[in-house]
Every structure is written in structure tokens, then in C-alpha cells.
């Protein structure tokens, strides 16, 4: 067994009233991929922040090669050889991709000036390792989260560090990209790097990790070997009780496929982002929408919701043509969109959890009819309980919540409006396995009560489990549709665009 590189014991961290970590720890060995598991808000990100000098621990010790370290800033940690990708993409959106890869460690040429040629070449080389072929001179903000996530990973890989920390790197990636990432991680492991890795996908844990540490409520549950810990046991360790893997769709559920057409798109298109699309969304039905990253799913959702204007085609709601110019109009028609980009388009970090949850409902009611505070509290508390949002207090700023819990807050905001059509763009991103079950259960329940749902997901399994119909996008248009109950392989074939050859499903 190889030597322990990084070890943390008895870590404690309090934020005001919430205890984020209490007696947590882990030990990381050279040449291993180590998964850090736990429910949303268990303290994974906080632990990583303590290890890398973003926050200072209240108690506990961190040792690197047996030597106690106390990094005060991320820069200190980097100097110690710890390279990190934080959960929220923490790059500078205004800088080019190349610069984001090299900021802080620019190669310098003559006169000590930055050697841009080398920066560009280096950037391309780094991205090539992840099989990402993009223009490295464009500002990062021009790329979707997935690409940004890949850039962040590439940046961390570029630092020839001893320890690599990845906090939920895969939450917004599709299968292909996850595969690329895992390949690189395995290569680095061979070179003796210690890799700490957070994810909520159990499959991925079993696919790459050598060891698993589980946290629960800020405390350490234990360290396990994947082989000795079956799926169910891992979930039990994380949640602290047994969780039934609830099924999603109940096939042939009442009303599916027979509801009235609520929203219909005919030839809806937008230059440069979406080719003409025909789509029908029915009350009481879940339409699952799959596709690769960049296939145009988000664009379609935005057009349906009036966030972007279509320049071709028609949209009608309840058989009446509509021209949505503002999300407010969509909301007035009973539409709801839970956006993909949580940080920029979803959460309002400075507002409290309660205010975040009531925001869309209040917007629909208009500014004159303010919801009474008691009513707001009641709503917030109901959804906090329903979705299992872990927040110290509904009056806490939403920005202080853990990533997964922020995602749940945004979801709660839209559920609170009791919409007729709910568009969910990657809603389960970063949400833990138990909560995911509950959320999917809730979506199905709402659909059965008559709501129309457009469920966008990168996960085949979610598509097949939830969809009453499954639509797939490719190259910015609708590539085809499958009936509910289709197999994962069928969906995959449609996504890849070939007649089901040689495409492996997610493990």
C-alpha cells in the first residue's frame, strides 16, 4: 500500500450557527483515486475548502507528507502541490480560455513578459488531452457550463501537482466527456498522483475510485473499499438509513399521452442556435429530452420560455398563438423554467432561501399583491421539507447553502408557482442520490396530477425512467422521438445518430 500523502483529522468548521464539519477527516494516498461521498450539505466542499486554504479550520490538523500544514490562501495550497477544481466553476468569465488555463503561472518570454504564443499552444495541448477542440482565444463566458467545467479541469491538470482535488467535476458533463476525464484521471494515477474526487453518481464512484470516504452531517462515517461496499450499503452510509430505490415512471399511468396539448411549437427556430423544431407538450405527460452537450436543448427551452426570441415558426399555448417577449409573459401563461446555469440564471445568492423560493410566484402575482410574510414562510418551509433542503434557517442567504441545496432551492421556486408546464433543464445536477429519487418522484406525481413536464437531462437512465415520451436532439434540431419505456440503448443510438452501434451505456 502506497504512502499517505495528505491526511486530515478532527476537522471542525462552523459558519455562524451551522456546523458544517465536526470531526471530519480523510487520508489520501499517492497513486489512488479517492471518492468523497455524502449527501448535499454533508460538508464535502467545506472539507475541500479547508484542505486548500479557502477557509481556515476551527480545529483539526492537516498533514502533507507527515508535515503539518496550514495553508492560508489557495495560493499557499498550490505552492504545497495541491491543485483544485472547486464545485462552482471558479474561473474568470471575462478572460480567454487560454488565459484561464494559465492565469497565475504564465510562461514568460523576453523581458519577463507573458509569452502569448506559448500560452495559446499550451492551452491547446492541455485541452487536447481532454479531447476538447475549441477556440482558446474566445472569452470563457461565451461557452456553456460544461465547457467551462472542462476548462477548469484542464487547468487543474496542467499544474503538475502531487494532489488533485475535483469537487463534482462531472455534474454538468455528458458521458463522452466523463469518459475522457476518467481516462486522464487514470493516467495521472499511474504517475503517482493522489486524486480526491467528489460526485453524486454512484456508477462513477465504482468505475474509477480505489477508495471511498463517506461524510454525514459534517462527521466522518468511515473509509471503505468499493469492492466491500455494495451500492445499497454506500447509500445507507451516506444517508444514515436505508433508502428504497424508488422507481420513476409507472407505466401506463393514468392520463399519459392523452392529455390536451398545452404548448405546441411549429417550426420554431432561431438563427445560429436552433433549427426548426416541432414539438407538442401535453398536460399530464413527461417529455424527456436527451442529447449531447451543445445539441440545442437549452436553446429550445429558452425559446419556449420567451428568454430568447424565435425568428421563425410559431408557438401556441392552449391552441392560441402567443408571442412571448419576456419570461414574465411565459410565467403568466403558467410556464416555468428551471434553468441550467444555476449560478448565473438561477440562484439569487444575496437573497434568503425564503425569498428565493417565493420569487417567481411573487413575480407572477405582480408587485402590488405582496405575499404576506407568514405565507412566504409557510411556503418556504413546505418546500424545504418536501425537497429536503438543508439550510440552517430559511432566512439564511441562499449563497451560503451547499451547491446541491441551492439547486433544490431553484427547483422549489418553480414548483411553488404550481405551473402548468414545467421545463427542467438538468434539474438534478449536483443533487445527491437520495434527493434525486425524491425529486423524480415528485415530478412524476405532479405530472400525474395534470402538469406538463419537459425534462432535459444528460443521463440516459433518467430519460428512460421518467419519460412518457423521449425526444432526442442532435445538431440543434429534433433528431427523433421514442415512446416511453424504450431502452437505454435505443436512446443512446438516437443520441449518437448512428443505428445503435458500439455505443456503450453508462456503467
Amino acid at each position: 500500500m502506497s504512502a499517505v500523502v495528505l491526511e486530515a483529522t478532527g476537522l471542525r468548521k462552523r459558519f455562524g450557527a451551522t456546523v458544517a464539519l465536526d470531526g471530519a477527516g480523510l487520508s489520501l494516498r499517492a497513486g489512488e483515486i479517492h471518492a468523497l461521498m455524502g449527501q448535499n450539505g454533508a460538508g464535502k466542499s467545506t472539507l475541500i475548502k479547508l484542505l486548500t486554504g479557502v477557509e481556515a479550520p476551527d480545529a483539526g490538523t492537516i498533514t502533507l507528507d507527515g508535515r503539518t500544514i496550514a495553508p492560508a490562501t489557495p495560493l499557499d495550497a498550490q505552492r504545497e502541490g495541491i491543485s483544485t477544481v472547486y464545485q462552482e466553476v471558479n474561473l474568470c468569465p471575462n478572460l480567454s480560455v487560454a488565459e484561464n488555463l494559465f492565469a497565475g503561472r504564465y510562461p514568460r518570454g523576453r523581458l519577463g513578459l507573458v509569452d502569448w504564443r506559448q500560452v495559446r499552444a499550451g492551452a491547446r495541448a492541455l485541452l487536447r488531452e481532454l479531447h476538447l477542440d475549441i477556440d482558446v482565444d474566445r472569452p470563457l463566458s461565451g461557452y456553456p457550463v460544461a465547457v467551462q467545467q472542462m476548462v477548469a479541469i484542464a487547468r487543474a491538470l496542467g499544474v503538475s501537482a502531487r494532489v488533485l482535488v475535483l469537487d463534482e467535476p462531472t455534474s454538468s458533463l455528458d458521458e463522452g466527456e466523463v469518459r475522457e476525464l476518467f481516462a486522464v484521471m487514470r493516467r495521472l494515477r499511474e504517475r503517482g498522483m493522489a486524486i480526491l474526487f467528489v460526485t453524486h453518481f454512484l456508477d462513477q464512484v465504482y468505475a474509477v475510485s480505489d477508495r471511498i470516504t463517506v461524510l454525514r452531517n459534517g462527521g466522518l462515517v468511515g473509509e471503505f473499499l468499493p469492492a466491500q461496499l455494495p451500492h445499497a450499503a454506500l447509500v445507507t452510509a451516506m444517508v444514515g438509513r436505508e433508502v428504497g430505490m424508488a422507481a420513476g415512471r409507472d407505466p401506463g399511468g393514468a392520463g399519459a399521452g392523452e392529455g390536451a396539448v398545452l404548448v405546441e411549437a411549429r417550426g420554431l427556430a432561431r438563427r445560429g442556435s436552433l433549427r426548426p423544431v416541432d414539438l407538442q407538450l401535453r398536460a399530464g405527460e413527461v417529455l424527456a429530452l436527451g442529447g449531447l452537450l451543445g445539441s440545442g436543448r437549452t436553446e429550445l427551452a429558452r425559446l419556449l420560455f420567451g428568454l430568447d426570441r424565435a425568428d421563425q415558426g410559431r408557438l401556441s399555448i392552449d391552441d392560441a398563438p402567443v408571442d412571448l417577449r419576456h419570461p414574465a409573459e411565459a410565467v403568466a401563461h403558467g410556464l416555468a423554467l428551471c434553468p441550467e446555469e444555476r449560478k448565473t440564471e438561477g440562484i439569487v445568492a444575496g437573497l434568503s432561501v425564503r425569498e428565493n423560493i417565493v420569487l417567481a410566484l411573487q413575480a407572477r402575482l405582480g408587485w402590488r399583491r405582496a405575499l404576506a410574510t407568514s405565507r412566504q414562510r409557510e411556503l418556504a418551509q413546505r418546500f424545504v421539507a418536501l425537497l429536503g433542503i438543508k439550510a440552517g434557517d430559511i432566512e439564511a442567504a441562499a449563497g451560503t447553502l451547499s451547491g446541491g441545496n441551492q439547486q433544490k432551492v431553484v427547483l422549489a421556486r418553480w414548483l411553488a408557482t404550481a405551473p402548468r408546464l414545467l421545463i427542467l433543464d438538468e434539474p438534478t445536477r449536483g443533487i445527491d442520490i437520495a434527493a434525486k429519487q425524491e425529486i423524480m418522484g415528485e415530478v412524476v406525481r405532479l405530472a400525474r396530477e395534470g402538469m406538463a413536464v419537459l425534462f432535459i437531462s444528460a443521463e440516459i437512465e433518467e430519460l428512460t425512467r421518467l419519460g412518457d415520451r423521449i425526444a432526442v436532439m442532435r445538431d440543434r434540431h429534433l433528431a427523433g422521438e421514442l415512446p416511453g419505456g424504450s431502452s437505454g440503448a435505443q436512446v443512446l443510438a438516437l443520441i449518437a445518430g448512428e443505428a445503435g452501434t458500439g455505443v456503450e451505456g453508462r456503467a
Partner: protein, 336 residues
């Protein structure tokens, strides 16, 4: 996979970057405005008129370079005009009343300006105070200190200083450039290199994009912020020195409202007040645009005092609105 067509050649590549487009639009508007001036007024399109833009706005240009760095971090520095005034008064007083050699006085003034900026930077960075307010207090302080040195305007007649002030670099055809303008051009060049090609400069942009991310990327955020304000202080002091070449006097009311001109120049030059995006070259054009507006009005010579104000506002408006609309259409075309 990428939907962006990758064309060869640097020109299309330049055009693809919205930041370059903004610069090009600004320059084009500047040219258009100059041509309009040439059509309307005799003698407008002479080289000296354009060199005068540099000569008359040398100090503004220098201040604007420092301001560009500050704004790139997402901050603002309102103290620049007052620091200019303080520098001129102190310099004049040291040379005229205390018998200092101008070079010694210049050295002291530059050091003081830098230290003053750094002090404000520390307050902003360490104590998390809003830059607007800290530098506003800095503005009061510097202006007040200037009046404490002298309420009177002090003329400088030291031979060395006068010689520098009257130095003209001939450019042929009777046109010439002043020493101060030369210094300003050097500062712009230096600023462009510093912003574009050094670790410090790139850290400035990163902080402007997201201070939190910059810190997580391991950039020296605190030191960079303090240095940016120190740099702005230095530029202001240098502008003060150049001012004394321009005017051969030190006066506590010099540079009144200069901070707004500098901010306007930077923003017109395409730098975002929110930080993280902008070019030194844009700032140069921004200063020239402001100068051009002034020149147009002087050449017109028929405006009353209030019409002068209205005309400046209107020209500013026309410029900014056109810039904005042109940018918007070009972005549309790109998206399409």
C-alpha cells in the same frame, strides 16, 4: 463540434472578438467626427490640431491610464484630480519657495502620489471599504492638502522647468509635440504593455472578472489591488508634473472635475465599469474623443456658455449611442 467557423487569417480573428469590434467602432466614430469637423470648419484638419489634442490632454491621458487599471479591477478612483492639484502645488511651492531643484521635487511628488494611492488601496483591500467612498475621502484630503500648501496659484520660473515646458519635438511641416505629450504617449505604451503582457496586468483583468475566482486561482489579489491604486496615485502625480510643464504653475484648483473626464474617457474607450474588460488603446481614443469634442466647440466659436454645455452633452450622447448601436448590430451579425 464547435459551431464557430474557424477561419484563417488575423483580420477575421480580430473581428470575431467583440472587444476588438468595440475598439474599431470607437476609432471609426472618432474618424467620422474629425471628418465632420473638417467639413464644417476651416483649418480643422491640420496636423497641429490633432497634435494639440495630445498636447492639451497629456495630463488627462496619463490620469486615464491609471484610471483604466483601477476600473479594470472593478474599482474607481475619484481622487485623481485632487492628487494632480496637490502635486502641482507642492512641486511649485518646493521649487519656487524652498529652492528645490525641479528634479528633486518631481521625485518627491511622484513618491508621495504613489504612497497616497497605496494607502487608499490598503483601506479598500484590507478593510473592505467601497473604493468610491475611500477615494472620495482621498479626493477631499488631497484637495485640502493642496489648499494648505497654498491657496494662491504659484507660477514656476525655474530655468530647467521652463526649458522642459517649452521643449517641442518637431514632427516636420511645422507641427510639433510637447514634452508632456511625449511623456503621456510613453505612459500609454507602458500601460498597454503592463496591462496586456505582464502577470500583474493579467491579474488585474482576472480580479475584474471575478475577485473570488482570482483568489481561488491562486492570484495575489490583495497585493495586486493595492498596487493598482498605487499605480493610479503614481499616474496622477505624474500627470501633476506634466501639468506643471503645461501651465508652469501650481494651483489648488487645478484639475477640478478631472476625475470625471478620466472616467468618461476610459468608459468611452470601451472599458466596462464593472471591471475585467477594456484596452489601454481604447482609453487613448477615449481621451482623444473628449478632446475632439472640446476642439469642435472651440472651432465653432459661436456657442454661448450654456449652449457649450448642451453641445458637449449632446456630442457625448451621440457618440456613446452610436457606439452602442453599432456594437449591437455587429454582435447581432456575429450571432447570426
Amino acid at each position: 463540434m464547435s459551431a464557430v467557423p474557424v477561419r484563417a487569417g488575423w483580420l477575421p480573428r480580430l473581428w470575431r472578438d467583440p472587444r476588438h469590434v468595440s475598439l474599431a467602432v470607437t476609432v471609426a466614430l472618432f474618424v467620422a467626427m474629425s471628418v465632420a469637423g473638417g467639413v464644417l470648419y476651416d483649418g480643422f484638419l491640420s496636423p497641429q490640431v490633432f497634435l494639440n489634442l495630445l498636447i492639451d490632454n497629456a495630463f488627462l491621458l496619463i490620469v486615464a491610464v491609471g484610471m483604466t487599471f483601477v476600473i479594470l479591477t472593478g474599482g474607481i478612483d475619484l481622487s485623481v484630480g485632487a492628487v494632480v492639484a496637490f502635486s502641482t502645488v507642492l512641486l511649485a511651492s518646493l521649487v519656487q519657495h524652498h529652492g528645490w531643484h525641479p528634479l528633486a521635487a518631481i521625485a518627491l511628488v511622484l513618491a508621495l502620489g504613489t504612497a497616497f494611492g497605496a494607502a487608499m488601496g490598503v483601506m479598500i483591500q484590507r478593510y473592505r471599504l467601497p473604493p468610491f467612498v475611500v477615494t472620495l475621502a482621498g479626493m477631499f484630503l488631497a484637495r485640502g492638502a493642496a489648499t494648505l500648501v497654498s491657496v494662491e496659484s504659484i507660477g514656476i520660473d525655474h530655468a530647467f522647468h521652463v526649458a522642459l515646458a517649452n521643449l517641442r519635438i518637431p514632427l516636420g511641416g511645422g507641427a510639433s509635440l510637447s514634452f508632456g505629450a511625449l511623456v503621456a504617449l510613453l505612459v500609454v505604451a507602458g500601460g498597454a504593455v503592463l496591462a496586456g503582457m505582464t502577470r500583474f496586468g493579467r491579474a488585474v483583468y482576472a480580479i475584474g472578472g471575478s475577485e473570488q475566482s482570482a483568489a481561488l486561482m491562486g492570484l495575489p489579489v490583495a497585493a495586486t489591488l493595492v498596487r493598482v491604486y498605487a499605480l493610479s496615485g503614481f499616474c496622477s502625480a505624474l500627470a501633476g508634473v506634466v501639468y506643471t510643464f503645461y501651465m508652469l504653475s501650481g494651483y489648488s484648483l487645478h484639475g477640478n472635475g478631472l476625475e470625471l473626464d478620466a472616467i468618461a474617457a476610459v468608459v468611452i474607450g470601451g472599458t466596462l465599469l464593472a471591471g475585467g474588460s477594456g484596452y489601454m488603446l481604447g482609453t487613448l481614443v477615449g481621451v482623444l474623443v473628449l478632446g475632439l469634442i472640446q476642439t469642435l466647440i472651440v472651432f465653432d466659436g459661436s456657442l454661448s456658455s450654456w449652449w457649450t454645455r448642451i453641445a458637449i452633452g449632446a456630442l457625448l450622447l451621440v457618440f456613446c449611442v452610436l457606439q452602442r448601436l453599432l456594437l449591437r448590430t455587429s454582435q447581432r451579425r456575429q450571432a447570426g
